[in-house]
Amino acid sequence: MILEVKDLKKYFPVKRGLMRLNAGYVKAVDGVTFSIGEGETVGLVGESGSGKTTVGKCIVRLLNPTGGSILFDNTDIAGLRPKGLKTYRKKMQIVFQDPFSSLNPRMTISDIVGEGLAIMGESGREKRVSELLETVGLSARDGSRYPHEFSGGQRQRIGIARALAVGPSFIVCDEPVSALDVSIQAQIINLLEELQAKFSFSYLFVAHDLSVVRHIADRILVMYVGKVMEEAPTEELFANPLHPYTKALFSSIPSLDPANRRGLSPIPGEPPSPVEPPPGCRFASRCPHATAQCAEGDIEFIEVSKNHKVRCVLYR
């Protein structure tokens, strides 16, 4: 296991009033546990407010976890101060969602891609940057140009080259293709898979588009308002979704067959606010199978079959 996340929590304090007193917490991530093996791609899916992006950012320590542990190569990096993190920055990197704001408009491409190397103080930057640009499908000459001269898909490639520069073994892909057109998405997904085959990366692939995640991930975690609701190998999840939220999620996806329209069946209601959420299961307010049990205390993660876990009283 290259990465083990145990009971990860991230709370954001809500300050109200004149004296900026604590009025409670936004429990963006509330106890998330999973692990990723070498060369594996784990998909983290959920809608907005599920906390999936926050999980990704906590792992690469762009945010400081409020609780829990993050074991990378058997060292808990959750509490490390910036000095201690320096070695780990080399091993784990992140690719961002928005190609238009993830590159500094005032820097040239070689400066952007080579920044990690500059910070680590490594030499031979120019050569390495040229190699990286070619690896991601651009040309070495592009190094002297500026981000605004490139399209969305090309900018994502640059973002990927930047993440690769320091030689990580684990990469968090935070919705890397959500902002791209379908045909460009395909190019970037292919690139990510090629790179993984070549360099044996492990990916945490955060996304909301289930068909993309289905294609690229070996295992999938489904998050809802800060907690993991279901975890299973990809095909098992799609063949046999257990959690009512997962089922609702799958049924909201339009099919690609106009002759046999599934008919849209939206889930009623809205997700609860992550500020001091209600006790018990967070999906209860919208769940067709909710019972009184669902509001009592924390629901545990139940292993229903090999590697397929659900957080739902229906499976107790």
Partner: protein
């Protein structure tokens, strides 16, 4: 079938420092009463410009509608003056946009905004307008509609805001609703609700819907007819079922083949070579030929015309029309 919207050979160009950008260059589509036309394409294909042209909302410099005709419920739109257009916008045809965050004015309550839309076009008093606003808020599924009238946009979620936009767009019972990527910024579970709402309202009042999107899944669920746009032109059009089951144009084929849902897991996704050309530099002949696996010499010389390939299904491609190298 009555045609609510009929666009013929529309050309909207933008005149910039780097030469004219022919964003929409000869587009002809039509939508009938109670029907939904899905206008599909990727970014830069000209679909949003087409939508804005219908309501003559093209920013005028640098853009201009340079040719063609648009007919809305029998009325010719292009010769109308700005004053006459204001009468049409919101009443005969309305539009909802992609970003509900920025489409609503943050300093007015949602009730005020809907009432304003009503009172601009009718001579109703405030009380009457208020009733209509409450009625439509309830219709779009906003709970406690009367109380919600007093809420400000920032107090609502994305999905709710989009519902308010739909209420504003439909409260005057327009004949045409233009929906420009209405659910792209929303979660998939909220998306289902919005699309269902549009379908229900359409069934109730017979509105024609022009649905603009890049998402083929939404098109499959909602559209009766589909038109695929590329580089300012329609490359394929026809009944939805026909397009999905037997697409003809190489670009449409490329779009479908790139979908991860249609590819076997583990294998590479199909990609269309190259990238969308910029509107100031379209290649000669067929605009897709530089990226097309089937291109022959004729493709680089002459622009192909839309020809029927079977029962209302049309395609603009020399190779598919039977030409050979």
């Amino acid at each position: 079938m009555e045609e609510v919207l009929k666009i013929e050979n529309l050309k909207t160009h933008f005149f910039t420092g780097e030469g004219p950008a022919r964003a929409v260059d000869g587009v002809s589509v039509s939508v009938g009463k109670k029907r939904t036309l899905g206008l599909v394409g990727e970014s830069g294909c000209g679909k949003t410009v087409t939508a804005l042209s219908i309501l003559k909302l093209i920013p005028s410099p640098p853009g201009r509608i340079v040719g063609g005709s648009i007919t809305l419920s029998g009325k010719e739109i292009l010769p109308l003056s700005e004053v006459e257009m204001r009468d049409i916008r919101g009443k005969l045809a309305s539009m909802i946009f992609q970003e509900p965050m920025t489409s609503l004015n943050p300093v007015f309550t949602i009730g005020t905004q809907i009432m304003e839309a009503v009172r601009i076009h009718t001579d109703m008093g405030r009380a009457e307008a208020r009733e209509i606003a409450v009625e439509y808020l309830a219709k779009v599924g906003i709970p406690e509609a009367r109380r919600m009238m007093l809420q400000y946009p920032h107090q609502l979620s994305g999905g709710m805001k989009q519902r308010v936009m739909i209420a504003m767009a439909l409260c005057l019972k327009p004949s045409l609703l233009i929906a420009d990527e209405p659910t792209t910024a929303l979660d998939v579970t909220i998306q289902a609700g919005i699309l269902r709402l549009i379908q229900d309202l359409q069934a109730e009042s017979g509105t024609a819907v022009l649905l603009i999107t890049h998402d083929l899944g939404i098109v499959a669920e909602m559209a009766d007819e589909v038109a695929v746009m590329y580089a300012g032109k329609i490359v394929e059009s026809g009944p939805c079922i026909s397009i999905f089951s037997s697409f003809v144009h190489p670009y449409t084929e490329g779009l479908f083949k790139s979908l991860p849902g249609r590819t076997e897991k583990g294998s590479r996704l199909y990609t269309i070579a190259g990238s969308v050309p910029s509107a100031t530099g379209f290649p000669p002949g067929c605009r897709f030929h530089t990226r097309c696996p089937l291109a022959i010499e004729k493709c680089s010389l002459e622009e192909p015309l839309l020809v029927e390939v079977g029962g209302d299904h049309r395609c603009a491609c020399w190779v598919r029309a039977g030409e050979s190298a």
